[in-house]
Structure formats: C-alpha cells, structure tokens
C-alpha cells in the first residue's frame, strides 16, 4: 500500500507542476462603456488569452434581446445600446459549456449607429466584431489570475482529510462488529 501511495502522490505532484504553465479554464467577461455610447465587451481566460468565437447575447434592462453575435479573434465585441437607459446584461456562452455574464450601466438612451463589420440577425445595426476599423482590445480590462496554488493545496488537503475521516468511521464500525459478535 505504501508503494501505491507513492505512485499516486508522484502523479499528483507531476500534474500540479505541469499545470502551473497553463492555467486557463474559467472564462471571464468584462465591459467598458465609452463616451460615444458604444460598449466594449471582452471575454478572456485567467491567463489573459482571449476567448474567441464566444456567443454573446446582449439584453436590455427590460430583459429583451438587443443583439446576439460572436467575439472576434481578440475576444471582443462592440455593441451600441439603443433606446433604454439602465443596467444591461451581456451573457457569454463558450464552446466548452462555459457561461458567464457581465453587466454595464447605460445612463442615457442613444440611437443605434451603422457600424462597419456588422454581424447579421437582429444584431446587425448595433453589434460588430472585428473588421479593419475595429478598435484594439482594452488591456486594462484584462485581469490575469495567478495559478491557484492555495486552492489546489486546499483541495488536496480536503481530499486527504475527508478520506482519513471516512476511514475512521468505517474502521470504527468494523471494530464494533468484531467486539460484539452476534450470539
């Protein structure tokens, strides 16, 4: 059994070491409202890499859908809110089943403007992704998350602590059955 423990621990430590370079799973969404009324929506992973091709649905404060489009190669999408002031919601759905959202506040209602590189569907006049006139990614919105060493160690500690507790419970039950055999 000692050899089993050492094999397992070696595998876990190897995986822990290998994971340090590539921590990029959770998708993060951010938004920035510009002075001209447009809103920059960005999706990225904790290592700062852009979440490309993510479907974004932009909902008005009353819950109705304004636009549905995909993020570009830099993980961004620009929308122009129309008609309603208040808190808007952008929901990002990634290809791996990831889902996240960001909210932004529009103080004054504006009319939508035509945009180059607009995408089809209901979003055509108000959402655009990419194109030669597209703005660059806003690096100030990117918050790189460090590798969660503390969380991983906490998880491993929890696993082994819980297993020890379970062993105690199981062994106690076994000892009781040995001490008090059935007549």
């Amino acid at each position: 059994m000692r050899k089993s423990w050492s094999v397992g621990l070696a595998a876990a430590l190897f995986l822990l070491a290998a994971g340090g370079e590539a921590w990029a799973h959770k998708m993060i969404a951010a938004s920035r409202v510009h002075d001209d009324g447009t809103v920059l929506l960005q999706a990225f992973f904790p290592d700062g890499k852009p979440a490309r091709g993510v479907t974004v649905e932009v909902h008005r404060p009353d819950g109705s859908l304004l636009a549905a489009a995909r993020t570009d190669e830099e993980g961004k999408l620009t929308v122009t809110p129309d008609g309603q002031a208040g808190q808007w919601t952008a929901t990002f759905t990634g290809s791996m089943g990831h889902k996240t959202e960001t909210r932004f506040r529009v103080e004054t209602a504006r009319q939508p403007t035509e945009a180059p590189g607009a995408v089809g569907g209901v979003a055509a006049p108000v959402a655009r992704n990419g194109g030669p006139a597209a703005e660059a990614r806003d690096e100030s919105l990117i918050e790189k998350a460090p590798f969660p060493v503390a969380d991983v160690l906490a998880g491993l500690g929890f696993v082994f602590g819980l297993s020890a507790l379970l062993m105690c419970i199981k062994l106690r039950a076994q000892l009781r059955s040995i001490r008090s055999p059935e007549p």
Partner: protein, 203 residues
C-alpha cells in the same frame, strides 16, 4: 469538458441528475471497504488537479480529464473520485458549476465505467504490450464516450447548442489521443510496478 451553471434552464433536469448522482454515491460509499478509501483519495486528487493541465491544440487548448485512468484504477467505484473532484473543482477553481455537478458526474462517470470494462479485456490477451494497448483504447474510448454524452446533453438542453456541441467534439479530438497515451502508459506502468492497483475492482 464541464457544463457550467445556467446552461439548463429547466431545474428538473439538473435536480434529477444531482439526485441520481448523489444516490449512486451514497450507495457506493455505504458499500465501500475501508481499505479502498486511500485509493479513492488518490484518484480524486489527480482527477481534481488534472483539469489544470492544458494541452495546447492550435489556437485553443483543452484540459486533461483522466476519466479513463480513474476508471481502470477504481472500477465500479469510479463515480466517487469523479464526484468529489468535480465538487472541489466547482467550489475552489470555479470549473463547471454546482447545479450541473450531477450531469457532469454522469457524463464522466459512465465513460469511466466503460474504460474499466474495456481495460478488463486485457486479461484475455497475453502479449507484452496488452496493458498499453487496452489502456490506450480505454482512455480514448472514455473521452469519446464522454464527448458524445456531453454533446447529447447540451443538445437536449437547448437546440442552440448544436453548433457549440460539434465545436466541442472537434476541439477535443486530439485529447482522445493524448488521454489514450497517458492511460496506456499509466496502465503499462502500474501493471509492472503495482498491479494490485489495477486488479482491485472496487466494492
């Protein structure tokens, strides 16, 4: 390959999946011998950490699952490390979601059972590389089966996920080979170093 919170709009879907996974885990825990607990802890540990190891594939990257490896080591108890690992990933790393744990457990636990069964065929073949070959098949088949289950579940949740589901399947195809190689190598290694880890088949 985790489904996040909010994908299933009908709560009956994830509530029933959580109930099924919880009930199965309860039965397995009650029937499990104390000597199997360290093995469950070890498998939970590497399954939990494996999701942090990303394999870069073209412009994107996918993370390791090691479902096949959990299956060939744990056998019928494979559901337990997958359940515990997914709970920890959701709580500590924000991978997947809490409401979708039941569905994620089922879509990964069933392939682990498949890997266990497939690797068991290795006993009937005497050639030297049999543990690697059947480990490779078990690891690859587990990922493929998991992908197909996940795709079915996503499409069932919302027809809008049809395109997303195919993207997911295609993006993970290289992982099928990577997981096969890892599971095959691990199967070969454990067969030589600690065969009891493979021959013990759970409760």
């Amino acid at each position: 390959m985790h489904i996040s919170d909010g994908v299933f709009r009908d709560p009956r879907v994830w509530v029933s999946a959580c109930a099924a996974a919880g009930g199965l885990a309860g039965v397995l825990l009650a029937r499990m011998d104390a000597e199997k607990i360290p093995r469950v802890a070890l498998c939970t540990s590497f399954f939990f950490v494996a999701s942090l190891v990303h394999v870069p594939i073209g412009p994107t990257s996918v993370h390791l699952l090691l479902v096949g490896l959990v299956g060939i080591v744990m056998g019928r108890l494979a559901f337990l490390p997958i359940l515990f690992g997914l709970v920890l990933q959701a709580l500590l790393l924000q991978h997947g979601g809490l409401t979708t744990i039941g569905i994620n457990v089922l879509t990964m636990g069933l392939p682990a059972y498949g890997a266990y069964w497939l690797f068991g065929l290795e006993r009937h073949f005497g050639f030297k590389a049999a543990p690697f070959v059947f480990g490779f098949l078990a690891g690859s088949a587990a990922v493929m089966l998991g992908l197909l289950l996940l795709k079915s579940v996503l499409v069932f949740a919302d027809e809008a996920f049809v395109g997303v589901a195919w993207t997911l399947v295609i993006a993970h195809l290289p992982l099928v080979v990577v997981e096969g190689l890892i599971t095959g190598s691990a199967g070969m290694f454990l067969k030589k170093v600690e065969p009891r880890l493979l021959e013990a088949r759970g409760a």
